[in-house]
Amino acid sequence: MSLRVAEKLSGRFRYLADDAPKGALVGLVLRSAHPHARISRLDTRAAEAVPGVHAVVTTADVPAGFRFGLRLKDQPVLADGVVRHLGEAVAAVAAETMEIAAAALAAIDVDYEILPPVTDPHVALGKEAVALHDGGNLCHAFDYLKGDVAVALEASAHTVDLSLDTPRQMHVALELEGGVAIPGEGDLVLRAPAHDPHHVRHVLSELTGLEEENIHVVGSPIGGSYGGKEDLHVQPVLALLGLKARRPVRLVLSRPEAVAAGIKRHPFSIRLRAGCNADGRLTALDFDAVADTGAYASHGPEVLETAMECAPGAYDWPSVRLAGRLAYTNNGISGAFRGFGAVQTQSALELAIDALADKAGVDRIAFRRLNLAAAEGPGPLGQTMVPMLELEPLGEALAALPAVPVGRPDERFVAGTGVALIRKGEGFGGGGPNGALGRLALGFDGRIRLETSLTEMGQGLEAAALAALRQAFGVDGRDVGLRIGETAVGNSGPTSASRGTQIAVRLVRKGAETMRQALGAAAARKLGGAAEDYISGPGGMFRADDRRNRPDIGFAALAEGEDIAVDVEIEPIETHLDGLACHTLFTACAARAFILVDRWTGRITCTGIDVLPACGMPLVPAAFDGQMAGGAAQALGFCLTEDLLATDGSFAARNLDGYFVPTIADMPPVRIHPLVELDARDPVGLRGAGEIGLNAVAPAIACAVRDVLGIPPLRLPVDPDWVLDVLEARR
């Protein structure tokens, strides 16, 4: 058992906001009670006068026009004259106690001039809509065209029309967004969960005017994120409060604040038309999607691009038209969420694939295998890609899954099965921060450690990196270590897009040979001989020709007076295609889901899930399985229970009692069948496991619903009310 696991289990583990320096102030944020309004007056004088208040910050404390974001920078730290969503931060205070901070918040005087909210993304894109940003409400657009879709559909033997609306899913990491700012003399330490500490530091440097080298950001560990903490959350406000108060400040959101102001999954509204020949060969796909990014872009443009790139699925289409639009509205903020746009479009596509297979009279799995994209590419947008030889083996494995008895036919329950086969880009599309810096070093504690700014959020990056270190140097657990998730080490890029663990392991493997030489050279300096005479092993260095039980020199002794370290760099793989961002590296996964529909109530129960990920040989099988089962649970919620409904810019739930995260009773057995052998020609050899299970399971459940009801669901999560109507209509 690793130390970390033991700490987590015994309650000794510390998350970044668990501890604050003695005397730390309490931070609280004043949030807008309106989804769309102009701030006509903002007076903080009374709040500043409350005894025990050390700082009150508003947009006046922010450089004029400052905005943050990933690619599109459009989000103010504190409302800059206008609020665009309910719960938007307007001002913040730091005070000696929670009570004083609350009193200070209450003393802030704000006058709002209420504006009509823009809540329907389709309406937002219309000509008459009120523009929420200077450039209008079209946040991002994606278009791709290959062949003449209209002609091809006309000539198709079978076509299907389908529409699907997907939910505003909430991440619900159990750890709330929060952190601690510790200002010093001309510098700042900021501890708050983050996927990319270097990016946070960069933004904070621009915000505060401090040089990057004077800001130290710690972003790991994270108590759950799933993408929800990928963008900056409390960091900018915390930095402002800490620097203004010149005292440490701790700020942790309440759950209602996180529900109102936190990042959500983009709701998509999809319409598609697809066709095939009489023999079941796909002919054309015409795919339109409108996504709701809410008040700010966050990762919206990248989400839209990934969604559209994945819309054609794992299939070969002679002609394709893709059109995606990302709209600004006053519905909170949507951003990164595990599955990253793709799960929305994949669900719609796989429903269409089943519908076409049924029309063509071809078995649904056979239909998929018949139409798989070529292994060598080109990719879904015609791009060159890393060969992907696992699609057909996956189809074969899917077909070979043992049948599961669904019990005898029953008056009450109707049973159904769904399958899906998908691929999703890994890492970032063209221009994204795909490269990574890292370092292998021998510490004075005698541990060979990996230094990387990648972060641990429960995905098992630490365990995988430690396993890779042990493997690479033939050593024990006590000989390896990590320094991760902070800006004191090299920039390894974001821990997202399923790349974190994969990159960490590649950093170890790439630097291992040079590091082994460096270790050998150091041993030679200390003991005589040549570098090649020594190899690393449990506890230290051994003479290659005389391997005894004890090392000739222990690692701690080896490190004395030496600086044994190797910088490692992973070069980014870039892909650009006529200005379209697209991926080079893909991961494939298949899934099967079983459901029962209760005819009395329309309720759907998922009774079994199979996941077939093609990620190569997992380093830590239990962690790998955990990613698949966890993704399956989030997929189940996406399909059956989870949606943060918005009315007039206000969410129906303000806490977890009205938002239905699956509990243990909702989870059926999840069986994982990994495809561990990747093709020898595969240059990467290992794929990230973070998202792909979710991406495959959601469409499989959606297809199971269609299997039972005969028609595809119009929206996810599937509403029991609609199920009853469909069952009634069928009688």
């Binding site: 058992m1 696991v5 033991a6 987590k8 289990l9 015994s10 309650g11 000794r12 998350y15 619900v172 990491a173 159990l174 750890e175 709330l176 108590g223 759950g224 994120s225 309440s254 759950r255 669904v406 019990g407 005898r408 029953d410 008056e411 009450r412 329950f413 049973a415 429960g458 995905q459 098992g460 079983f594 029962l596 209760d598 009395w600 109530t601 329309g602 309720r603 129960t605 009774t607 079994g608 399985d625 955990g626 966890g630 229970t641 129906a652 806490n655 977890l656 009692d657 239905f660 995260v661 699956p662 509990t663 243990i664 009773a665 909702d666 989870m667 057995p669 999840v670 009310d721 009853l724």
Partner: protein, 492 residues
């Protein structure tokens, strides 16, 4: 009279004189003890990250139950042993449930882990639990985990939670029982002054007296609802009268004609007894809130707060339960359905409080059915809660009591449907039509995030038909099926 609360923490008896009326156990642990292993995930009892175990004496036996520390008032732990995640390990060795979680990789980000471990700790100490997934599901219904999909957690639970307990708590049980017995002094507790206090009366008379003097005080039984007034609605509640130590108010007494339930008997204590009246009562009972909520929440509270969506009232109304109230020296009883007047309005006078209820057992000619329909199987407020009692003679329904929750501003009987059902023949579904139609006129439900008005109406009719089908004993139907768990069994 005591001016402090006392509880057992490790091997120490903690005595606190400074207890603010609405201070929570979670704040005490994290801010005063600085034990931050117990996590805050929602502060409303929905996620279970703050789960701790309370050891209490029940009939002289030491029983560990899980509670949500975020909505547990600190004063409520008087007389208990408080066990948190930091207390489980023994020397350097983890507790068996912690070991099993580690072995099965049941902790990813780890934030829910302390709460999960504490829930499993109570399952580990639960006597004679059947070693199956159902028991595990029930034990963990109140613990959200967003990382694992629960699979490794369930595996860990199945591996260790059903053996004879062998940990420091089981080995020291006699000592703990002795200490807790010693803490049961039967004294009145009053901390604070006349304007702001936490009080814990020890008898019904002293309660009546105190409440008469402070009719503006808030009565707290389990605090699973009042806790939310504090953490969610941020209400100022300066005067708290906690009912948990009032003698005899927590009685659970099975008699020939039915069951007597004291107002402060916890839902978990009532569970096995009520299930004996009818299995459907047990099935629904096990889905009220979560284990944490049932360990604190009470039947009296579930009724007294007058919620239109409490799960117990429709069932109890269908069974013909009567409610007993007291004010000063005066007691009165009334049919339970008459207690609910309108939304937020109950038939309870100033300084009057619920003391208990009587639940008649169904007779030999009665068929009882109860269905809880919610978005999520466990730990979810009902969209529709339905209960039916049909009295059958010679295959005819001669009398019916039908009550619904979630369909109106109060839990309410479906009088039109009841009347229209008179004389219906169970074997002839054609004779049910009038009643199935009538129920549509009994209610005008509303739409909310749990269900639309249309769905509620459809589901009410559907559940009514289901109850009739089951009462008629139609062979093709699986009866007494609540949903997911039984549905999964079809796959066997």
């Amino acid at each position: 009279m005591r001016e402090a609360i006392r509880f057992l923490r490790g091997d120490q008896i903690i005595e606190l004189f400074d207890v603010a009326p609405t201070e929570t156990l979670l704040d005490y642990l994290r801010l005063r003890e600085r034990k931050v292993g117990t996590k805050e995930g929602c502060n409303e009892g929905d996620c279970g990250a703050c789960t701790v175990a309370l050891g209490r004496l029940v009939d002289g036996r030491l029983v560990y139950e899980p509670v949500n520390a975020c909505i547990q008032l600190l004063g409520q732990v008087d007389g208990c042993e408080v066990v948190t995640i930091e207390d489980l390990a023994e020397g350097g060795a983890l507790h068996p449930v912690q070991e099993a979680l580690a072995r099965h990789h049941g902790s990813q980000c780890g934030f829910c882990t302390p709460g999960i471990a504490m829930s499993l700790f109570t399952l580990y100490h639960q006597p004679a639990a059947a070693p199956d997934r159902k028991a595990v599901n029930e034990a963990l219904a109140g613990n959200l985990c967003r990382c694992t999909g629960y699979r490794p957690i369930a595996d860990a639970a199945l591996e260790v939670c059903f053996a004879e307990p062998d940990d420091k708590f089981s080995r020291q049980a006699d000592t703990i029982v002795e200490i807790l017995s010693g803490l049961r002094d039967g004294d009145e507790i009053f901390i604070g002054d006349e304007r702001s206090f936490f009080a814990s009366p020890a008898s019904i008379d002293s309660l009546a007296d105190l409440y008469a003097r402070h009719p503006d005080a808030t009565l707290v039984a389990g605090a699973t609802d009042v806790g939310l007034w504090i953490t969610k609605q941020l209400r100022e509640l300066p005067k708290i009268i906690w009912l948990g130590r009032v003698a005899f108010l927590d009685r659970v007494e099975p008699i020939e004609e039915g069951l007597i339930i004291g107002a402060t008997a916890s839902l978990s204590r009532v569970e096995p007894e009520i299930a004996r009246l009818d299995p459907d009562l047990g099935a629904v009972w096990s889905r009220i809130g979560s284990k944490q909520v049932r360990a604190s929440g009470t039947v009296g509270g579930n009724i007294a707060n007058g919620s239109p969506i409490g799960d117990t009232p429709p069932m109890l109304i269908a069974l013909g339960a009567t409610l007993e109230l007291r004010k000063g020296d005066t007691a009165r009883t009334l049919p339970l359905e008459d207690y609910f007047i309108d939304y937020g309005r109950q038939d309870r006078g100033e300084a009057e409080f619920v003391t208990g209820l009587f639940v008649p057992a169904p007779g030999p000619n009665d068929v009882f059915r109860a269905y809880k329909l919610s978005k999520r199987f466990d730990q979810d407020i009902s969209a529709v809660m339905a209960a039916f009692l049909f009295t059958v003679e010679d295959g005819r329904i001669i009398h019916a009591r039908i009550a619904f929750g979630g369909m109106a501003a109060t839990p309410r009987r479906a009088r039109r449907a009841e009347a229209a059902l008179g004389g219906a023949v169970l074997a002839e579904p054609g004779t049910w039509g009038r009643a199935l139609k009538a129920i549509e006129r009994d209610f005008a439900p509303i739409s909310d995030m749990r269900a639309s008005a249309e769905y509620r109406a459809k589901a009410a009719r559907s559940l009514f038909a289901k109850a009739l089908v089951e009462a008629a004993g139609m062979p093709s139907e699986r009866t007494r099926v609540q949903g997911h768990r039984e549905a999964a069994e079809i796959l066997v």
